[in-house]
């Protein structure tokens, strides 16, 4: 599984949605499953799946799937 697939899996597991619904354009609060509460769950999954520690600014900035990839790249995860 490459890191892109891994990221999509993190989103699917954390938000409890079908993987087919996940694409780069998926944005925070654009679907009911990605609200401020499930966002906490998402951060937990991404941190553990990728072995990174995200600071509060990262957590707030993670407003889309594309943005999540950008933030992880900053933490030396390559896509």
């Amino acid at each position: 599984m490459n890191n892109n697939e891994k990221l999509y899996k993190s989103f699917a597991n954390a938000l409890n949605i079908d993987p087919s619904l996940i694409n780069d354009d998926l944005k925070y609060q654009s679907i009911k499953q990605w609200d401020s509460i499930s966002h906490m769950m998402l951060i937990s999954y991404i941190e553990e799946d990728f072995g990174v520690s995200l600071d509060t600014d990262d957590v707030i900035d993670m407003s889309s799937v594309a943005k999540a990839r950008e933030i992880l790249t900053k933490h030396n995860i390559s896509f």
Binding site: M41, S44, Y45, D55
Partner: protein, 248 residues
């Protein structure tokens, strides 16, 4: 088998008083213990004893809850070692008494940074592993002064009341994930915080306690144990007084 067998608990302010009593009781009940204190040598003085007496793993970390970086390092190190906590006890706290006109800015900051920001920082970091496992218990140390107020303790009282507001709101955020957040509000407890009081003040305080005795750290530890264990699996957002019927 103890009430906490198979669990891992992180306790801040663990080097003495209530934090030490909680660490010892949790270990006795089978939990692996992560003790955090600004005074690492004080932790090292008894950590091996706890480990050998109760057959649990004990980790000691030097850390200052006022410093997000310092606490962040501890959680990162634990994560890298594959250690995930189930229980967080936000015990680290300070008490400084002064009437409002006599209290300096730096003291106000110190009280809030330790008692409130420290509790928030540690909780922010702890809930990440809790969320993934959909299980966890946070126990915050408030005070009877936070629930009732007290003369000469307006800022300390405000900081401990903030802990209660934080506890109640966070419990609502995290209840859907089976993560419980509760607070303990000790009354007059025999710790370093109270040892410097004059004999007359001690006598006066004991006079206001229905049970007519000062509380012991283990009295608080036992309630923390209840909140940490599955005995309280349907309890969240509560503040439990441990004060022997004190009236202030």
């Amino acid at each position: 088998m103890g009430l906490l067998t198979g669990s891992t608990a992180l306790i801040t302010g663990a080097s003495k008083g209530i934090g030490k009593a909680i660490s010892e009781l949790f270990a006795k009940e089978g939990a692996d213990i992560i003790m955090v204190s600004r005074n690492i040598s004080a932790l090292n003085a008894f950590s091996d004893t706890i480990a050998s007496d109760f057959g649990v793993k004990v980790y000691s970390y030097e850390g200052d809850v006022r410093n997000h970086e310092s606490i962040g390092y501890i959680f990162k190190d634990l994560s890298e070692k594959g250690i995930f906590i189930d229980i967080l006890v936000n015990n680290a706290g300070i008490m400084i008494d002064a009437t409002l006109q006599m209290i300096k800015d730096d003291v106000i900051h110190d009280l809030f940074e330790t008692n409130v920001y420290g509790t928030i920082f540690c909780s922010q970091l702890a809930i990440k592993p809790f969320l993934r496992r959909r299980k966890g218990s946070i126990i915050n140390l408030s005070s009877i002064v936070g629930t009732n107020g007290n003369l000469g303790q307006s800022i300390y009282s405000a900081s401990k009341a903030a802990v209660i507001g934080f506890t109640k709101s966070l419990s609502k955020e995290l209840a859907p994930f089976n993560i419980r957040v509760n607070a303990v509000a000790p009354g007059f407890i025999d710790t370093d915080m109270t040892k410097d009081m004059s004999a007359s003040l001690v006598e006066k305080n004991i006079g206001s306690i229905g049970m007519k005795r000062i509380g012991k750290p283990k009295d608080v530890a036992r309630v923390a144990l209840f909140l940490a264990s599955d005995l309280s699996e349907y309890v969240t957002g509560q503040v439990i007084g441990v004060d022997g019927g004190m009236i202030i």
